[in-house]
Symmetry: C2
Subunit: 662 residues, 2 copies
C-alpha cells in the first residue's frame, strides 16, 4: 500500500476534531525566548527557590532575612535556653574527647605537625556554629582528606626535607578548598556534588579506609623507612622488604590498643546507650599509652612518641600562604579535589541527621558555611575540615541539640592547647595508628556494597571501580574512575535508550510493555513501540536502526504466522522528554524509510517540549497533525479504522477496536 | 492525618486484585544476571544485529556471507554490466578533473609535497571500491583534515626546517587514523561518531572553512612570511603587519580565478543539469593559470608556482613511518583526532546519499573500509583520505552507479602521475588558493545555523561554540568546546529533569500536563506529578527538592482558594526509564518527609526496569504494592475513594471519580 492510498483518518469516528470527548495532541503556546531562558536558568540554578521567603516583604525585613540566611545563629540564638545548653555541654565534651586524639592522628596522616589537628578543632567549629544550618554536624578534620593532602602535596614537595614549604602549601590548599566550596554554594552549583553518587562514595570511602589502614602499618610495626606511594602493592612490598626491622614492642602495643578500641566499639554498637564508652576509648587509649611510655621509658626501646607540642592557641598563618610559587597549581588542584570530597561528606552527613531529626538543610547554604570555615581556618593555622561522619554520629548520640556543642568542643580544645599540650609528649605514635585503624574499619561498609550488588549491578561496578582504583592506583585515580563510570552510565542511558513493544492488556484500552505484562496481546497489522529516553544526537542513529530492526522482526514473525501484514508503526512518545534537531532529522528519515516499505508512522502522546520542537522543525506539517494522537488507544483505534475501511474483511475481531471502550 | 489512619485501598472498587477488568503494576519475572548482561551488551554493541543474516546457514554459506560482508564488491561485482560502466566512466572522469587540482591544493594546505595529493587519489579509492558499501562516495583528501594535520604536526615539527620528519610523521598519523577508524568499526564502537552532533558539525565545518580561507590570504596576497597560528586574530595581525609586501599581480590573478569559480558554482547551482561546468572549473582554472604563467613568465614577477612534480606512481612509504620517536604521541593524537573528523564526514556523506538512492549503509562496516583504505594508503605515500561532501556530490550529480567511478578516477589520476605531472610545473599557487576558498565557502552553511536557532536554541549554542572555538582559538579547541557543550546538555537533561503537574482532561480519564493542555483541571486533594527522566544519583536530590516545592506551592494555592486540603501525591512514572540506588533512597526519604506532613505517596505506571529495582530495593514492600497503580486514572480513583470514605461530605463532585468511566 503506497502513501497515496491513505485516506486521512479525520473521517474516523475517533479522531473528530470537534468531538467533545476526545482531545488532540496540543502544541503548547509559544513563549518568548527570554522568558523560557529565564525559566530554564531558574530551574537549573534555583530549583529550591531560595528567594521565595523574600517575596512581598519590606526592604528592612528582607535585610534581616538575608542576614539570617547566611547566619542562622541569629535566628535560633535568641531562642536558646539552659535546657538546650545542658545537652550541648555534654555532647560538646564528648566530641572534644574524640577530637583531640583524632585530630593529632589525622594531622600525622597528612604529614603535618600534630598540633595542627588541635588548631583545626578550634577555629572552624566556631565559624560553623554561626553559619551552619545543621544541628548535629561536629566539625573536624577527616582521614580521607588528610591522606589526599599528603599524597597530592607529597608528590611535589617532600614533607621531611622541606617541612615549611609543605606546611604553607597545606594552608594554601585549604584556602583554595574553602574558596571553591563557598563559590559552589554562592553560584548555586551545589549539584556538582550530586555527581558523586552514593555508590561512588561507598567504594571510595572503603578504598580510602583500606589505604589509610595500610599506611598505619608503618606506625604499628615501628618502621622508619616507608614508601611514599599509597597503593596496595607498593605498601606491602615496602613492609615485607624490611621484615628484619619490625619492632615487636611497637607491634604488641598497637595490637592491644586496637583490640581495646574495637571491643569498645562493638560493645557500644550492641548497646547504643553506652555510646560514650567507644567515644571515650580513644582518649583513654592516649592517656593509658602515654602513662605506659612515661613509666617504662619505652620511647628508648623503639616506641616512637609525639614529642613536644607547642603551648598556645592558633598562630596567624594568613601571611604564610604561597600564591606565587611553581607549586601554586598543585595547591589549587589539591584544594579543589579535597574540597569536593570534604564537601560531599559534610553535606551527606548534615542531610542524614537532618532527616532523622525532621528538619531541613539547604545544600548551597551549607557549602557557603563549610567554605567560609575553611577560608578563615586557613588564615589561622588550620587545615581542611568538614563534618566527619563518625564524630557527628557521636555528637548525635550524645544528645546534642544545636551547633553550640561545636562551641563547647572548641573551648575544650582551646583549654587543651593553652594548658594540656605537655601531657601529650609521651603519647606513643602506635596508639594514634590504632585510633586511625579503628576509625577506618568503620568506613568499610561491605553491607552497602552487597546491597548495591543485589539492587543495581551498575552501581556495584561503580563502587568496585572506585575501591579498586583507590587501593591499586591512587586516591585521585579511584575518584576519576568512579565519576567516569557514573557519567558513562548516564551517557549510555541516553545513547542506548530502550525501545519496548507494547501490547493491549485484555479487556482494557491500556497498552503496556509485553515483557512486563506477558498477557498483553499484539494488535494485528500494527506495531506499537515505546521510546524510553529523550531523542538526541547521541541516540538518533541508534533509534533509527533499532526501530527498523523491530519492524524487520515483526514482519518476519508475521510471515511465519501468516497474520495480516504490518501497515502501521505507532510510536508512544510519552517517555520522550525532549528532542533536538538530530532527532527531528531522524524522524524525517524514518518516515521516508517506512513509507518506502508501505508503512505509516503514527505518534502517540508527545509531550509539550517535543510537540514544540516537532512543530518548529516542520515535522508535524510533514507527517500531518492528524497522525498524532493523545493516547496509544486512540492511535490504534484510528489505524484499525483505516485497516478495516481499506480491507473490510481482513480483521473481524471486535476486541481490536478499542474505541468501543473509550 | 497520620500514616496509621490510612485504610488500605484494596477495598476500593478499582483496586481489586482478582478483578478481570483491571490489572496490577507488574514486576517483571527475574532474569539470570548473565542473560541480562548479555542482552545489555548486545543492545549496546550490536543494535543492528549484524549476525542476523548468518543465522541458520551452513558453515560454507557463512564463510561466503562473511567475505561478502567485508568485501561488498564480491556481491555486486558479478552483477556489474556495460550500462552501469558507461555511467561510472563519465562520473569517474568528472571527479578526477576535480580530484587533481583539489588534491594538490589540500596537500599544500597540509604543508605536504603537492604530489601527495595525487598519490592519495590513487590507492585509497581502489581499496574503497572493494570494501565500501556506498555507491556514491568519492574518495579523496579533505581540507579540514589537511588543516588539522598542518596545525597539530606543525606545532611540534617545523615543515620548512625538517620536511622529511614532518612527512614521515604525516604517514604515521595517517596510519594511526586508519587503525583507529578500523578498530572503531571492528569493536562496534561506531556510536562514538554519533556524539558529534549535526549542530557540532555545522559549526565546526563553518569554522574550519573560515580558518582555511584565512590561511589562503598568504597565497592570494603572495606573502612570504606568515603566522603558524590558525586563529583569526593572529592571521589578521600577520596579514596587516606586512601591507607593504602584498603583491598586486598575485592578488588580481587570485581574485579573477575566485570570481570565475564562484560564478560557475552559482550557475551550476541554479541549473543542476550543468553540474559539470562547476566540476570542470577547477581544472580549467589550473590549465588557464598555468598557460598564463608560462606565456607571461609571471613566475619571475612575484607569482609563485608549484615547480617540479616527480613523475611515477606512489612510492612505498611503509618503511618511513616513525614508531620510536619523541613525536610518536603527537602522531597518535593527530591520527585519532583527524581520523574521527574524517570518519564523521565520510559516514555522514555515505548515509545521506544512501538515503537519496534508497539503499542502506552499515556505519561500522564503512568504518572498517575507510580505516583499511587509510592504513594501506599510509604504506604507499598517501595521507588521510575520506569521502568529502563536495566531491561525492559531483559524483552523484554526474550519475555514478557504483564504486567503479572511484576506480575510474584512480586510473585517471595514475595516468596523470605517469605522464602529465610536468604540465603542472607552471601552475600558480594563487589558483590553488582560489580553488580552496571557493570550495570552503560552500561549507559555511549559514542556513543550517539559522534553522538551528529557530528549532533548538541549545543546538545553536553548540554550533556557535564550535564555530567561535575554531575561529578564535584552534580547531581542536573548537571541537572540544562543541563536544563538551553537547555532553553537558545530555547531563543537564538528566540532572535537571522536568517535573510536570498533570490535570484531568474534561470528560475523559486522561491526565495530561496542564501547561500543554490548559483545559486540564486539577483534582481536589490530589497533586499529580509526572517525572520526565530516569531517576539517577545526578538528579535525586534535585527531584526531592523540586517535588517538595510543588507540594509547597500547591498547599499555598489551596490555602488561598480554600479548597479541600492536599492528601495524596500521585507520581506518574511512565517516563522514568530507570532508577538507581540513589533514586530508591530518594523515594524512601520523600515518603518519610511527605508522611510527616500527612501526605501519602502513590505511584502510577512504573516501567519494568523501575519495578524490578524498586522491588529489589524493598521500596515496594515499604510503600505497599497496593499503592502502585497501572494508570494515573486508577491511582486517582483509589485516592478519591479514600478521600470520600474518610471524609464523605467533603467532595461531592461526581466527575472526580474517574472509575465511572474506566
Amino acid at each position: 500500500m503506497g502513501n497515496a492510498d491513505y485516506v486521512y483518518p479525520s473521517s474516523a469516528p475517533t479522531a473528530g476534531e470537534g468531538g467533545d470527548c476526545l482531545h488532540r495532541a496540543a502544541i503548547p503556546p509559544p513563549q518568548p525566548f527570554l522568558k523560557s531562558l529565564k525559566n530554564a536558568m531558574k530551574e537549573t540554578f534555583f530549583p529550591d527557590d531560595p528567594l521565595r521567603q523574600f517575596k512581598n516583604k519590606p526592604p528592612a525585613k528582607k535585610m534581616i532575612l538575608g542576614f539570617q540566611y547566611f547566619f542562622p545563629v541569629v535566628e535560633w540564638g535568641p531562642r536558646y535556653n539552659l535546657g538546650l545548653f545542658k545537652s550541648d555541654l555534654i555532647s560538646g565534651f564528648t566530641i572534644a574527647s574524640l577530637a583531640i586524639p583524632q585530630g593529632i592522628s589525622y594531622a600525622k596522616l597528612a604529614n603535618l605537625p600534630p598540633i595542627l589537628g588541635l588548631y583545626s578543632s578550634f577555629i572552624p567549629p566556631l565559624i560553623y556554629a554561626m553559619m551552619g544550618s545543621s544541628r548535629d554536624l561536629a566539625v573536624g578534620t577527616v582521614a580521607v582528606a588528610s591522606l589526599l593532602i599528603s599524597s597530592m602535596l607529597g608528590a611535589e614537595v617532600n614533607p621531611a626535607q622541606n617541612p615549611t614549604l609543605y606546611l604553607h602549601l597545606a594552608f594554601t590548599a585549604t584556602f583554595f578548598a574553602g574558596v571553591f566550596q563557598a563559590s559552589l554554594g554562592l553560584l548555586r552549583l551545589g549539584f556538582i556534588v550530586d555527581f558523586l553518587s552514593h555508590a561512588t562514595i561507598v567504594g571510595f570511602m572503603a578504598g580510602a579506609a583500606t589505604v589509610v589502614c595500610l599506611q598505619q602499618l608503618k606506625g604499628i610495626l615501628g618502621l622508619t623507612h616507608f614508601t611514599h606511594s599509597t597503593d596496595l602493592v607498593s605498601v606491602l612490598r615496602s613492609v615485607f622488604s624490611q621484615v628484619h626491622e619490625w619492632r615487636w614492642e611497637s607491634g604488641v602495643l598497637g595490637c592491644c590498643f586496637l583490640f581495646f578500641l574495637l571491643i569498645t566499639r562493638y560493645f557500644s554498637k550492641k548497646k547504643p546507650k553506652f555510646f560514650w564508652i567507644s567515644a571515650m576509648a580513644p582518649l583513654t587509649s592516649v592517656i593509658l599509652g602515654s602513662l605506659l611510655v612515661f613509666l617504662t621509658h619505652a620511647e628508648k626501646h623503639g616506641v616512637e612518641v609525639i614529642g613536644e607540642l607547642k603551648k598556645g592557641v592558633n598562630p596567624v598563618s594568613i601571611t604564610k600562604m604561597v600564591f606565587v610559587s611553581p607549586y601554586l597549581s598543585t595547591a589549587i588542584k589539591t584544594g579543589i579535589i579535597t574540597g569536593v570530597i570534604a564537601l560531599a561528606e559534610g553535606i551527606a552527613v548534615g542531610r542524614s541527621f537532618a532527616m532523622f531529626k525532621h528538619y531541613n538543610i539547604d545544600g548551597n547554604k551549607e557549602m557557603v558555611a563549610i567554605g567560609t570555615m575553611n577560608i578563615v581556618g586557613s588564615c589561622f593555622s588550620c587545615y581542611l575540615t568538614t563534618g566527619p561522619f563518625s564524630r557527628s554520629a557521636v555528637n548525635y548520640n550524645a544528645g546534642c541539640k544545636t551547633a553550640v556543642s561545636n562551641v563547647v568542643m572548641a573551648i575544650a580544645v582551646m583549654l587543651t592547647l593553652l594548658f594540656l599540650t605537655p601531657l601529650f609528649h609521651y603519647t606513643p605514635l602506635v596508639v594514634l595508628s590504632s585510633i586511625i585503624i579503628s576509625a577506618m574499619l568503620g568506613l568499610i561498609d561491605y553491607e552497602a556494597a552487597i546491597h548495591l550488588w543485589k539492587v543495581d549491578k551498575f552501581d556495584f561496578l561503580v563502587c568496585i571501580g572506585a575501591y579498586a582504583g583507590v587501593v591499586f592506583a591512587s586516591v585521585e585515580i579511584g575518584l576519576v574512575i568512579a565519576v567516569v563510570i557514573s557519567l558513562l552510565r548516564l551517557l549510555l542511558f541516553v545513547a542506548r535508550p530502550r525501545t519496548l513493544v507494547l501490547g493491549n492488556l485484555p479487556n482494557s484500552t491500556l497498552y503496556r510493555n509485553i515483557e512486563q505484562y506477558p498477557n498483553a496481546g499484539n494488535v494485528p497489522g500494527i506495531l506499537i513501540l515505546e521510546i524510553d529516553a529523550p531523542i538526541y544526537f547521541a541516540n538518533s542513529s541508534y533509534l533509527r536502526e533499532r526501530i527498523m530492526r523491530w519492524v524487520d522482526e515483526e514482519e518476519d514473525r508475521i510471515k511465519a504466522s501468516s497474520e495480516s501484514t504490518l501497515q502501521y508503526v505507532v510510536l508512544d512518545m510519552s517517555a520522550v522528554g525532549n528532542i533536538d534537531t538530530s532527532g527531528i532529522s531522524m524522524f524525517e528519515e524514518l518516515k521516508k524509510i517506512l513509507e518506502r516499505r508501505g508503512l505509516k508512522i503514527v505518534l502517540a502522546n508527545p509531550g509539550a517540549e517535543v510537540m514544540k520542537k516537532l512543530d518548529k522543525g516542520k515535522f508535524i506539517e510533514t507527517l500531518g497533525h492528524e497522525w498524532i494522537y493523545l493516547t496509544v488507544a486512540e492511535a490504534v483505534a484510528a489505524c484499525n479504522y483505516m485497516l478495516h475501511s481499506c480491507k473490510p474483511n481482513l480483521v473481524t475481531d471486535e476486541k481490536a477496536e478499542p474505541w468501543n471502550n473509550v
